[in-house]
């Protein structure tokens, strides 16, 4: 009997750690997102695993972007990859944005050395959602075209990063201004509506207060007009007397003055 108990305790002691490890592993898998193949975000805003850009250029690009990110919350990420392996540039850029950008105002400048249509500017985040797609597309195309005017590829990357940052700053300010304008307009409209409502209340109150005197006035007016209106005596029959056609001789006489001498 004692042996059976000892055996069973031993089994439990062996199974519990296995179960525990299994549960912990499951939990860890459930909580962590799918691993990004490029790992976590580097400290700089420029990711150039192939070392295409000179460190000085990397610094020239990343320093202003870091200041903008710090002061204005605009996150511009420059990614330089040797090859996209046939993946669409926008798709690749969005994956980087999703994995590494925490700001709602974000943009990825993706460059593949040697490709003539590079660099690509791919804005993302909630700011883009509130803008007109045509406006975004037009601005991106313009920015890419201006960046492409540079002759050297590092300069193209730097120009594209600057264009992206400026574009986002411009949009951000626009949205803020529009939001403030709308807020102001909303306030104005609310004030106007409140004024109108107050006037209506006042008018209703005055109307209600005026009804009684108006009613009394109208009644008095009707009464007054009726009093001043024509009056008729009943038409009574008469009989001719003394052969007179129009008057029968009834009369009243009064002395109103002494006779003239």
């Amino acid at each position: 009997m004692a042996r059976v108990v000892l055996t069973s305790d031993f089994m439990i002691a062996r199974i519990i750690p296995v179960l525990f490890a299994f549960v912990l592993g499951g939990l860890a898998l459930a909580q962590s997102p799918e691993a990004f193949e490029y790992g976590s975000r580097p400290p700089l805003s420029v990711f150039d695993p192939g070392g295409f850009l000179d460190p000085a250029v990397v610094k020239q690009i990343s320093d202003p972007l870091a200041i903008i990110q710090k002061n204005e919350g605009i996150d511009v990420l420059v990614i330089v990859l040797p090859d996209l392996e046939n993946a669409p540039p926008e798709h690749v850029a969005r994956r980087f944005a999703k994995a590494w950008c925490s700001s709602q105002i974000q943009c990825v400048v993706l460059h593949v050395p040697g490709r003539k249509d590079s660099p690509w500017i791919v804005p993302a985040g909630k700011l883009i959602d509130v803008l007109e797609p045509d406006q975004v597309r037009q601005a991106v195309e313009d920015g890419q075209r201006r960046a492409a005017l540079e002759t050297k590829e590092p300069d193209k990357v730097r120009a594209a990063a600057t264009e992206a940052a400026d574009m986002l700053r411009y949009w951000t300010n626009n949205v803020i201004n529009r939001s403030e304008l709308m807020q102001t307009e909303r306030t104005k409209m609310r004030v106007q509506l409140e004024n109108k409502a107050r006037l209506w209340r006042l008018a209703a109150l005055l109307t209600a207060a005026a009804i009684i005197p108006i009613f009394a006035g109208v009644s008095l007016l009707i009464f007054w007009f009726r009093r001043r209106g024509p009056r008729y005596f009943p038409n009574r029959a008469w009989q001719l007397r003394l052969g007179a056609p129009y008057a029968g001789g009834n009369h009243a006489v009064a002395t109103i003055a002494p006779p003239q001498p």
């Binding site: 009726r226 001043r228 209106g229 024509p230 009056r231 008729y232 005596f233 009943p234 038409n235 009574r236 029959a237 008469w238 009989q239 001719l240 007397r241 003394l242 052969g243 007179a244 056609p245 129009y246 008057a247 029968g248 001789g249 009834n250 009369h251 009243a252 006489v253 009064a254 002395t255 109103i256 003055a257 002494p258 006779p259 003239q260």
Partner: protein
């Protein structure tokens, strides 16, 4: 005197509750007396008394020339106001200077009956006429109503209206005296209108 058309006499089914008297001797008459049983007066007698051709009975016939244009305007204003209130009544005012032995009521009786109807005047309008006759010589005034008008106001009330003229007339404001007559008449007509059963429309 000519006979009035039958249609006037049949205008209403109601008879006039009014006392009638002989204009000559004041004897009370029956409503359809052809002559006065006391003095045998008939309307035709006045044709002999006043043989002149009667003038048209104008609204204001100021034969004595008492009033200027302003006076007449004043009188017309008050008369028109009274006429708006009592549209049935036709008001005629006449100033005369009669010989001392002339009876003013008989002259008025003659004027009202003998004067021809003017162009637009109807028989009915003449019956609704009140003639205010003023004899400047004797200082007397008479109110002579037509058949229709006499049923609205008793002779006593007309007399009170005549008395109302007195003070103004004596002070020389003869036009104001006539205005007072109209005002007093209006007051008496108002009372009578209420007594007779008020109506706002002429039926």
């Amino acid at each position: 005197m000519s006979a009035a058309p039958e249609r006037i006499r049949r205008r209403s089914q109601r008879s006039a509750p009014v006392n009638v008297a002989c204009p000559s001797c004041r004897t009370v008459l029956k409503a359809d007396s052809k002559w006065c049983p006391s003095c045998n007066f008939t309307g035709g007698d006045t044709m002999a008394m006043f043989s002149d051709s009667p003038p048209p009975l104008l609204p204001i016939l100021d034969a004595m020339g008492l009033w200027n244009e302003s006076d007449i305007k004043k009188i017309e204003t008050e008369r028109d106001s009274l006429r708006r209130r009592y549209p049935q009544f036709q008001w005629r005012i006449c100033t005369v200077s009669l010989p001392p032995d002339t009876q003013l009521p008989l002259f008025g009786f003659w004027l009202l009956n003998a004067c021809p109807l003017h162009e637009k005047e109807t028989f009915e309008e003449r019956a609704w006429t009140l003639l205010l006759l003023i004899d400047a010589a004797s200082g007397k005034a008479a109110a002579v109503p037509g058949y229709a008008a006499e049923s609205c106001l008793a002779d006593d009330d007309w007399q009170k209206s005549l008395f109302a003229m007195g003070s103004r007339w004596k002070s020389g404001n003869t036009a104001d005296a006539v205005v007072e007559f109209f005002k007093s008449s209006r007051s008496h007509l108002d009372e009578s209108w209420v007594r007779n059963g008020s109506r706002r429309a002429n039926k």
